[in-house]
Symmetry: C2
Subunit: 136 residues, 2 copies
């Protein structure tokens, strides 16, 4: 009797697999490695091998990008994931994290303001439409 029904979850990915999945170029992925955002292992033949962890990290990078963070900012944030274990380091990281949290909450607030602006414009437009339709 088969003990594990869990099908052999693919543990690793090639560069083009990730590129396809996230709809980015392989160049982009290599570039992220170049600037230290990713550090995939290599095969005996020197080809990149990405683990689940690498993939999760890439996802985080792309999310950061969508939100307007620069790659260097993203790098700083990502470094919170890889900690030595020194308590001092951890404390510093915590402080840094609080700062980033505030920035993010700031950003959320600003987006909400922008949303309000757009909603106001929408109202304006709807009224204008009514006027124009009314006097047709």
């Amino acid at each position: 009797m088969p003990a594990k029904t869990k099908r052999k979850e693919k543990e690793t990915y090639s560069i083009s697999e990730l590129a396809k999945e996230f709809e980015i170029s392989t160049r982009t992925i290599r570039y992220y490695e170049e600037i230290g955002l990713l550090s995939p292992k290599r095969t005996s033949g020197n080809q990149r091998v990405f683990t689940k962890r690498d993939k999760a990290r890439l996802k985080l990078i792309l999310r950061g990008k969508k939100l307007g963070f620069s790659l260097s900012e993203i790098k700083e944030m990502i470094e919170m994931y890889d900690l030595a274990g020194e308590t001092e380091q951890i404390k510093l990281t915590l402080r840094y994290g609080e700062k980033k949290l505030k920035e993010i909450e700031e950003k959320i607030k600003e987006l909400e303001m922008l949303r309000e602006d757009l909603l106001a414009i929408r109202e304006m437009l709807l009224n204008r439409l009514k006027e124009l339709e009314g006097q047709k």
Copy 2:
């Protein structure tokens, strides 16, 4: 008897006044005009004169930037402010506005997810700290 106590509100601004107020360079402002984001009037001597409206617009541009929109995206959004008056145009603009609204709400959601991530990391770090401090 003086009828109006309202002090002569300054209606216009020079390029450097705006630059100082928003903490950007004059070059940046000229660049925004160059790509059609601003269209200030000119003095007889050809110097730029910015109205309240121009100023409000600049503010919107800068807000968009802080949120990671590209200048061309911002340009699209800004065009919602200047409408012909044609009902068809207005309808199109409304549709476009709905789209932008959804994008913004998407962005807000993603930021909230990012915030959750960071909060989780913080928890992790706090636990780790406790362990380390405990076994000192």
